[in-house]
Amino acid sequence: MELSTKSKGSVQIVSINGSLDALTAPELADALAAELRGGRARLVADLSGLEYTSSAGLRVLLNNVKDARSQGGDLRLAGVQPNVKKVLDLSGFMSIMKSYADVDAAVASFAE
């Protein structure tokens, strides 16, 4: 998995590429926790390069969406690919997380 972070206004965009699983989830957990510790609770997870997620990845997303919301922000998804969407649908995530076609739409949603 490869992670990169950038800012767009008050929104932090975390791009997650490759596979989000038990071996890689701790790295994402650390990255998101660092953002939240720094008071940056408006987060977009760019999943356009994410090919796979297992339950370990789902747990990281869930923990951080809860933490972000408790700080008045949110963790929103962008560019979810079909393979990952299948798992997010099955696990009910699409009913609790906001998802957008691309990063621009997800970033813009924070202004609404």
Partner: protein
């Protein structure tokens, strides 16, 4: 030869409900055998129970394919239970009760006995857990010992089609009613790498009969139950749940036995997709 297992990793194979689609588990098993990945327990429900039992008993993939093609054909539902029509139309006169079922289950019992003989669940080479649903209380029942055919018959007791089946004093109906993908059983039994092969129940398309209407309602409820249980188990489990979700490009009906070879291929394909990660996970210290 490398044996992909470790002291800390307990791999479970969980096969959900899905009638003929569950034959995809043969494809998954084929992949695991080829890669010498040891499974420490097999859990199955409904159609998935039939394949969980074959895998746990040690049937080779080809043998499992042949067995299931003999077992599950249109003929098993061809003979109607004549009394059931009377029970629907005149419940008082015919005596409607919890043993209602529109199909005569004589043939399915014969087929199950032909496939599994007098084996007991505890005879399985790999620990086997079969689930059904307690018709009186709605709870999941996990069967770990006793006559295998009886357990399977209870697990596949599709409401309205097959009458409930009594095992050890409990009236059992299809396992999908309590959990279409019983990952919880594997978690409870200590598995920390769970290969979960699940299937959504098909929607009916044209609703032109009471039976189709009933199945549509049942599918809606089962699919929502599948999602909510999967979400809960994924979140609650400390280990890893690896979803293995075969994609079928053609409609697979309840008794499309002739499509089993295709279904197996798709199961194999879905397993291959997860294989690189699974091997990495089993070789890791995480």
């Amino acid at each position: 030869m490398i044996r992909l297992m470790s002291d800390t990793k307990r791999v479970a194979l969980v096969i959900g409900s899905g009638s003929v689609k569950c034959a995809a588990a043969i494809g998954l098993h084929k992949t695991l055998l080829r890669e010498n990945i040891q499974v420490e327990m097999v859990v199955g429900t409904s159609g998935g129970a039939l394949y969980a039992a074959m895998i746990a008993l040690g049937l080779a993939p080809q043998q499992a394919q042949e067995t299931s093609m003999r077992l599950w054909t249109h003929q098993v539902t061809a003979k109607h239970n004549r009394r059931s029509l009377g029970q629907i139309l005149l419940p008082n006169a015919f005596g409607f009760d919890e043993n209602f079922g529109t199909v005569d289950d004589t043939l399915v019992m014969e087929r199950l006995r032909a496939a599994y003989g007098e084996k007991r669940i505890e005879d399985a080479k790999i620990p086997l857990y079969l689930t059904a649903t307690d018709f009186e209380h709605g709870e999941q029942v996990v069967l770990t010992k006793g006559n295998l055919v009886d357990a399977l018959r209870g697990s596949i007791a599709i409401p309205y089609i097959f009458k409930a089946h009594r095992v050890d004093g409990k009236l059992l109906v299809d396992g999908y009613l309590s959990d279409p993908l019983p990952i919880g059983v594997a978690i409870k039994e200590g598995a920390n790498v769970i290969l979960a092969m699940g299937f959504e129940s098909p929607y009916q398309g044209k609703i032109n009969s009471l039976m189709r209407y009933t199945f549509q309602v049942s599918s809606i409820m089962a699919n929502n139950l599948l999602k909510s249980n999967y979400a809960f188990h994924s979140m609650a489990h400390h280990g890893e749940v690896i979803p293995i979700l075969p994609q079928f490009n053609q409609h697979i009906g309840l008794f499309d036995t002739e499509k089993i070879p295709y279904v197996i291929e798709e199961g194999e394909r879905a397993a291959e997709e997860q294989l690189p990660y699974l091997k990495k996970l089993l070789a890791s210290s995480v």
